[in-house]
Amino acid sequence: MGMTMTQKILAHHAGLDSVKAGDLIEAKLDLVLGNDITTPVAITTFDKTGFTKIFDKDKIAIVLDHYTPCKDIKSAELCHQAREFAKRFSITHLYDVGTVGIEHALLPEQGLTAPGDLIIGADSHTCTYGALGAFSTGVGSTDMAAGMAMGENWFKVPAAIQVELTGTLQPYVSGKDVILHLIGEIGVDGALYQSLEFTGEGVASLSMDDRFTIANMAIEAGAKNGIFPVDEKTIEYITGRVNRPYTVYEADPDAEYARKVVIDLNTLKPTVSLPHLPSNTRTIDEVEGMEIQQAVIGSCTNGRISDLRAAAEILKGRQVAAGVRCIVIPATQAIYLQAMEEGLMKTFIEAGCAVSTPTCGPCLGGHMGVMCAGERAVTTTNRNFVGRMGHVKSEVVLASPAVAAASAVAGCLKDPAKLEKGE
């Protein structure tokens, strides 16, 4: 029986010729990641256990992105603990205020993630790097500590769901709509303990930014990871970023899949997730007119340059509606700079948006856009659980950058195509 892409990467890193779904393996890690919330817990447990060495100072990334620039004294203490640890072990990849970006946009941009890698991160959206043909998965702080100490960890080899993409995306439809549609189809535990393997001729038409967005939200279907085949666009993206050898894996033709889901990109419409689960999806035409008080454009899901371009295209020459706060957060400093050079920042500010330095802030109700009871936001983030962006009686609607921008202008959920037509 053949192996999926995920299974091949796991087998290779475990030093095995083959693995099958359900096998428990120990595998070597190419990168271990943590942020300012999860790393301090990992450090505490690392020290408590009595570990005194890390496996490789160049293969650990500490990204202080969640509560930064620090929102209060307690979060400043967490960052301090992480900085001191990085100093103690001369960890190469510490990203702090000024260089920091949102981890899952930053690490691929910096070339730290490559095709064929096995990556764990103490952040659930670590699955983002599957866009590059890597196996990457979210873990907790203890796993991060184990990974930092040993350079390996245990894994249960996942069964797979094949997601075959056909056709091409239509105007105002993006990777976000693809993944929200998929989660709506299979549910928030539809891929529990499994990998999502994206295949089909539709993959070629997706930009790298679209692929990052799709892989990013694999966790929202319960998946262990999401993964894309490596093609010309992948190679173009990593060229000049990844300066080390990497391996391109392909699924065997006879790889076994537990299930197959087909998505015709031609027929997808802008899709949103209503409160309080990402699987609670509707197409935009079903929910237009729902009032909002806030729009957030950013996050590890949708804070990349093409996301900002999509939002700016809608916002250019228009104004954010009275009574709506529109917060734009470029995911990294490089994206921020590029957006400035392209004139997107001017567009945002003239439209009445607030623009922030890179931070995860509002996505998890941390800071920079927390809501009170009775408020509703349309956001390009990834979770709309109860209380996710503030008060338990506030609401989050997940959407693409184009829908979030159009809704910010309209003051309610709005189809960007209709806004453009003046409807």
Binding site: F46, A146, D189, G222, F385, G387
Partner: protein, 163 residues
């Protein structure tokens, strides 16, 4: 063994309601315990007694990778979580910190809030003393049993490293 009163919740209990992000800036077990389940059940943190049991439906612990979630439930005094299924990161995190979890759809569905339930961790037997019904949770693979036996992943790895 554990024996206590059950606190029952529905499907997809996510890590944001188990421990909201606004409290993650103070990751001590005592602080986390104070706010455990706050956004789904504000009464939980004061009502729970040592040995009590949290029961959830499908996909318990979905969402973020925050280990603070099983840490908070453990620190609240609960002896274990019984659920129909667990989100995979929560599952790993609970095992890694040595906090018992039991996967048993039948028990998760039938047990009611307030029932007195006894759990035998070595056999996986769950007895609802209020209704008199008995359930059998899925067994862990031997490798995971080993981690649990050592009290978590790091003590297990350290013991192996020290030979």
């Amino acid at each position: 063994m554990a024996r206590g009163t059950c606190f029952k919740y529905g499907d997809n209990v996510d890590t944001d309601v188990i421990i909201p992000a606004r409290y993650l800036n103070a990751p001590s077990p005592e602080e986390l315990a104070k706010h455990c389940m706050e956004d789904i059940d504000p009464a939980y943190a004061t009502a729970v007694k040592p040995g009590d049991i949290v029961v959830g439906g499908w996909n318990f612990g979905c969402g973020s990778s925050r280990e603070h979630a099983p840490m908070a439930i453990q620190a609240s005094g609960a002896a274990c979580v019984i659920a129909a299924s667990f989100a995979r990161i929560f599952y790993r995190n609970a095992i890694n910190i040595g906090f018992p979890i039991l996967e048993c759809p039948e028990a998760a569905e039938a047990i009611a809030s307030g029932d007195t339930v006894a759990v035998n961790f070595s056999t996986g037997e769950i007895v609802d003393e209020t209704t008199g019904k008995t359930y059998q949770a899925a067994a862990f693979p031997p490798f995971i049993e080993e981690i649990i036996r050592h009290g978590g992943l790091l003590p297990y790895l350290k013991a192996r490293q020290d030979g």
